[in-house]
Amino acid sequence: MRPELAAFQQSFAAAILSGTPSRFDRWPGFAVYRNTSMVAAIDSLAASYSATRAILGDADFRELARAYFRDNPPATPVLAEYGAGFADWLEQRLPTDRQPNVADVARIDRMQTETHLAEEPDDACGIDAAAISEDAWMTVVAVLQPAARFRWFATPAPSVWLASRNFATPNEFAAARTEEGILLTRPRGAVEALLIARAEHQLLMRLQRGESVGQAAIAAACACPRADIGASFKRLLESHAIHHFQRKEHQP
């Protein structure tokens, strides 16, 4: 038997990904295959990176997405997963003096996809927060919602991303160069976004690591001495980032 199928498929795929004419281009219909693959990948990125597209403009976004597809074709047919590395790729690709927030905005777009598609929480209801005494918080951990995503940025990308979500025009995206954090949750089936302060980010980070609520609060207070940690914690509770509380397991 001639092992020709693999060679055929390799050359066909290479011709689709290549921007230069191939032996298959002698048939006008080959462009349909090339376009279908390309458009499906670009449309998938456009759907996942809507704020990034709004900032770059559709034509520039699609040009970059086309180049990304050629460098990084999907690893899986599940296109919701496609483009996980797009933000890092953009950071390398875009000149540093142009749109310094863009890569970070793309990271938040990705976080939004992850929040939207995250698994449902389990049925654990944990212990009632109202029943936890003040000194018991040192032995209680907070289990975050599987859909919660948060990150601290060295750029004002969170404000830019939120502005884009509110359909601000591109020239409204110019924001002060400040550090910002963002928290994404999915409390009622839809993604909700919240700008967070440094103390709130510190709390989330430490709670996610499994530190007790008391330990996380002390660490956040040390990192942000001027912050009202009680108010920060209350805000996180209201954001639905926390699924439940449970006693910290004893570690020998």
Binding site: E4, L5, A13, G29, P74, P77, V78
Partner: protein, 281 residues
């Protein structure tokens, strides 16, 4: 309820879809769109399957891929099948995965002995993993590949014979391919193994913007064209009462408009049923 004519499900039609009273109405979804950990998509799928028969239509198994199946992707499909309990599971006689990456399309093969053995091996593996029969869809063709050892209907029949799989016959694909490659679509339909046909797809197409009607695109963005309806009549005459699915992926109209088109397919099936009953008595 016996599924007659169905519609490719669109999330924007969710409310109307689960409330639609039409007898025999069913829905098909692309499996890969629901291979996600959780969230509203899966919640919608659960609600839909509680109300209506559901078919899972995969686009990413790469059954004609020389490199074999991606075991991880097959396992995800198995989990989705277990969860959604569809009445049909279908895939394509096509490939999309090569050297560790996936092209989001359904790509053609030369129908050689090697390709036949590759496809039957992959279909066997898929059916074993899923624990059920799957249907394989005929692809759309845009280029006249050479080196075929079989005509496509014979190739599909041989695959069905060897693996026990069924066939999903897309009559729009037949019309578009016949136009692009220059064969008779009615001869193609007459050569199909009717015993293996378990589902039929209908959809719209459009001419290529650069090449016009010489090159038709299986675009799924327009109503079903008159010659495709005529091909459906011919196929139903041969295959009998087989569930028919209306696909629409672009320029998606309101649900009621899709239902009107779907009802036309249901009427074709109703006439076939009457003939079948008259013949039996």
């Amino acid at each position: 309820m016996y599924p007659t004519a169905g519609i490719g499900f669109k999330p924007q039609h969710f409310e109307e879809a689960i409330a639609a009273p039409a007898a025999g109405l069913w829905f098909e979804v692309h499996a890969e769109n629901y291979m996600v950990p959780g969230g509203p998509r899966l919640a919608m799928l659960e609600a839909l399957r509680a109300e209506r028969p559901l078919s899972l239509h995969g686009v990413g198994l790469s059954l004609a891929g020389a490199g074999g199946l991606d075991a991880g992707h097959l396992a995800r499909l198995k989990r989705l099948v277990d969860r959604a309990q569809p009445f049909l599971v279908s895939e394509h006689l096509a490939w999309s995965r090569v050297e560790g990456f996936c092209l989001p399309d359904l790509l053609p093969i030369p129908r050689t002995r090697e390709a036949l053995e590759c496809a039957t091996r992959n279909i066997d593996q898929a059916q074993t993993a899923l624990g059920r029969k799957i249907l394989i869809e005929n692809p759309t063709h845009y280029i006249p590949l050479s080196g075929h050892d079989w005509d496509e209907p014979d190739f599909l029949a041989e695959i069905a014979r060897r693996t026990g799989c069924g066939l999903l016959i897309d009559v729009n694909n037949i019309w578009v391919s016949a136009n692009n490659l220059g064969f008779c679509p009615y001869d193609y339909i007459d050569a199909l193994p009717s015993w293996a046909i378990g589902e039929i797809h209908i959809a719209g197409h459009r001419p290529d913007p650069a090449h016009g009607p010489k090159l038709l695109i299986d675009s799924h963005d327009a109503p079903v064209a008159p010659p495709v309806w005529r091909l459906l009549d011919r196929l139903i005459e041969r295959a009998g009462l087989v569930p028919v699915l209306l696909e629409r992926d672009g320029n998606v109209p309101p649900f009621a408009e899709l239902m009107d088109e779907r009802d036309r397919a249901a009427a074709v099936l109703a006439i076939a049923r009457k003939k079948e009953l008259a013949h039996a008595t």
